[in-house]
Amino acid sequence: MAILEKTELVRNAAGRLVPEIANRCPQIPYLGVGKYQPLGNKAAPPIRTAADYPNNGDKRVADLESALRKCGLRDGMIISSHHHLRDGDRVALMALEGAAKIGVKDLVWFPSASFPSQKGAIELMDSGVIDHIEGSMNGPLGDYCTQGKMRGMGVLRSHGGRWQAIQDGEVHIDIAVIAAPTADPFGNCDASHGKSACGSLGFALADSVYADHVIAVTDNLVPFPCVPWQIQGNNVDYVVAVDSIGDSAKIVSGTTQITRSPDRLRIAELIALFLRDAGIMRNGFSFQAGSGGIALAFVGYLKKMMKDAGVRARFVRGGSTKYLVELLDEGLTDYILDGQTFDLSGVQSMANNPRHIATSPFTSYNYHGKGNFASLVDAVVLGATEVDTDFNANVVTHSDGRLLHGIGGWQNCLAAGCTILAVPSFRDRIPVIVNQVTTLCGPGELIDVVVTERGIAINPRRQDLMEAVKSSKLPIRPLQEIKSEVERICGGMPQRPKRSDRAVAMVKWVDGTVLDSVWQVI
């Protein structure tokens, strides 16, 4: 059933085979960190005239299907959505299914991330309504892609890379569909209030500014003005009121849980100790950690060490959780600069505390920005599925080649002063430290420290960090030594899983060049 075009492969600067042409567009192979510098002007949406919009500011349309028709939906268009509603989102599928009813084909779905509950998109790909997805794919959608069933080639980008692609014209969004927890008839949107509140709408900001057409979909329509307006109604064409934009139970978790796994707690504690002993944890410092079990536990350990040492951070970067909110509330950080909220505490804090600031990939991650917050962060803690002995890392595929995660902000965060990967040394007998990663997502030159339950490995490129912890009691070990120990435990090096030589998706670097291919699994 797959009708993927045959494409030539070239070897990029990282030694990876990548397609020269994908989805009928020429691609630039990865050149190295910071090497690709495109020229010219940024992309822009068509000129609009306020005279074409109702003077009373009422842009409401009866339903999403009608709005799509008014936007001139036709075959081959690019439809975008955001993922602030996470696994609870109903709007993206509502839009795609609306498009199917209209009878168009070969759409490109351009979500800022997809979630397992959106597996309904598979039917739409089977029937030809959607040609391919450009955005994270995991669960059933990931399997569909790596089984080679998607017609076009999947494109995986970081949050910053998505903004880059929109700004330099690599992706031109025809219709942006923005799920809004609160909106007014003019199209101003807000996510900090409403029954489906999810915090911020930063991931939809570029879509609202650069798309040809913008539709806001809300289940909490308020009279003008909707305050605050995280998305400006001046960019919005149509507003659709629906009963529900999502399943609130899945939008944010009521509580986020710290891991109880002793091995994971040990990793978390080692990271906090490393930041303390390396002198990174000092007055005015900053850090970023995600919502995973290790990251949450790490924040707990660091918090105690900050208190004991009387240290206060200038800012911390979210994904926010109640653990970051506690830091803010207890005066251990001046600000939370937040890309997305993971739990109710985060949503409430962002709505009520002026020091809890919503950010977007533009402020934090965009390659075409005049600098980024991400590189101002002193230390970031990230996960990975695999890391090789040269510190190159994989975050999107399982070792057997199946898509497991999106890139998210992961690639962008590698710009931090000290990038720390928190990984167990093996999972289910499968070593995490390998000779060569299945999919290259992060160049080793940007990854400084790998923390496992068996010890801490510092990238030899960072002699300064080696020096800083030389006299500490930390278990600092060469990565190769940890790898050998794990292979002894696991009964030797694993076999390399079989894969085909057909690329089904590509991993973009933050600058839009192609870093690696994801291959069809056999």
Binding site: S399, R429, E453, C490, Q495, P497
Partner: protein
């Protein structure tokens, strides 16, 4: 082969666990046959990586067990090789095969034997039938790991757990942790010893001891096996007193054998024996615990406290452990790695204690130098037991890394 009396009722043996919730284990089913060689059906979570290795290992294990004809199903959830070996051996034995033979994984190098008075602040219990906890148990800094064959193992799983623990003693690097095994109550415990002793555990905990005869019985068995295998490493003993009678016999038991290095108490069984409720303050067991401390000290062995069961309440654990140290215990059991650091802190001498001991020790050395029989600090005379205690405390503090 002696099995397979009727063609349609082959002996079948199964061992281990599988399922989506199970990690680091495998379910092995062996159906003995008269003919047809070995047929292995393998399903594995790590098939793309270790499928060939698992198959090779299974074939080798069956050969070592002398199994020539069998249908074998392996449902693997990422079991490490030493676990898989134990599951195959257990399934074979349960199918009536491979009797008297073993499949032993490679041995890791053991650290030097530990002295009898080694620090035993914390000992982490690991259920003997849960292989996923074995491999990283030593990473959490406990003084000892206890591979448990007794209460945490279901009666139907004793035979399989024994093999798992045996293999873990061979194949898992427990770093600087003392490798302890809690065997079952005698006489079942004697069967445990058959598998365990050849792997030189550092210490064996004997549960529910009530008479010195039980110690002698176990020790005799251990000595016999050690002799058979030419083992010279010491295997220390730690009796667990868990009944009113056991407590009353504490001194007799503590002095029953010179391999005994510590006496400990099991409060769940003890309070059950008394028919009282076990409380967080432990008032109901105060007498028993003090009796254990006194008997242990009289016998010149360590007194080690019970476990604290509420893993979620680290503050209550801290309070208990501080009180425990105050009573004269030198350590406790742990049921979760999170408890280790709390216990180590609680059993550590305080800064004030160290400072005082430091002064006493300095005065003692000063007196020695001057050839004085009497140690004095300022205007106070210091008795020799006080000096001995200060010396011991400084040794402890050094071992705990508290001296800067």
């Amino acid at each position: 082969m002696s099995v397979g009396i009727e063609t349609n009722s082959w002996q079948i043996g199964e061992a281990g666990h599988c399922g989506s919730e199970v990690r680091s284990d495998a379910r092995v089913r062996i159906e003995a046959r008269d003919t047809g060689g070995i047929a292995i059906e393998l399903e594995s979570r790590v098939f793309p990586y270790y499928g060939d290795a698992i198959r090779r290992q299974a074939e080798g294990a069956l050969e070592a067990l002398g199994v020539e004809h069998a249908r074998v199903e392996i449902h693997d959830e990422g079991a490490l090789p030493f676990v898989l070996a134990a599951r195959i051996e257990a399934a074979a034995r349960r199918a009536g095969l491979g009797q008297g033979r073993r499949v032993l994984p490679d041995r890791v190098t053991l650290p030097e034997p530990f002295p009898r008075d080694r620090m035993r602040r914390s000992r982490l219990y690991v259920p003997g039938s849960e292989p996923k906890y074995f491999i990283n148990a030593a990473l959490h800094g406990a003084d000892a790991i206890i591979l448990d064959l007794e209460d945490s193992v279901h009666p139907n799983e004793k035979d399989a757990a024994r093999l798992l623990v045996r293999n873990a003693l061979r194949a898992v690097d427990f770093l600087r942790c003392e490798r302890m095994v809690r065997i079952n109550q005698l006489p079942l415990g004697l069967e445990d010893l058959e598998e365990i002793v050849p792997e030189s555990p550092d210490l064996i905990l004997i549960p529910k001891v009530e008479t010195s005869d039980q110690i002698l019985h176990a020790h005799q068995k251990i000595a016999e096996i050690k002799g058979n295998y030419g083992i010279t490493r010491p295997i220390w003993l730690m009796p667990i007193l868990e009944s009113a009678l056991g407590i009353e016999m504490a001194y007799d038991i503590a002095t029953a054998n010179k391999e005994i290095v510590a006496l400990t108490i099991g409060l769940e069984d003890y309070t059950a024996d008394l028919g009282v409720v076990k409380t967080a303050t432990g008032a109901e067991s105060l007498y028993a615990r003090q009796r254990v401390v006194n008997a242990a000290h009289a016998a010149g062995v360590q007194a080690i406290d019970s476990v604290f069961g509420d893993v979620g309440d680290l503050e209550a654990l801290r309070a208990w452990a501080l009180k425990s140290r105050g009573l004269g215990f030198e350590g406790m059991g742990c049921v979760h790695p999170l408890q280790i650091a709390v216990i180590h802190q609680a059993f550590a001498p305080t800064a004030a204690e160290i400072e005082k001991a430091r002064k006493i020790v300095a005065a003692y050395h000063e007196a020695q130098k001057k050839g004085l029989g009497v140690v004095s600090l300022g205007s106070k005379m210091i008795d020799s037991p006080v000096v001995r205690r200060a010396l011991k405390l400084m040794v402890q503090a050094e071992a705990m890394g508290l001296l800067t």
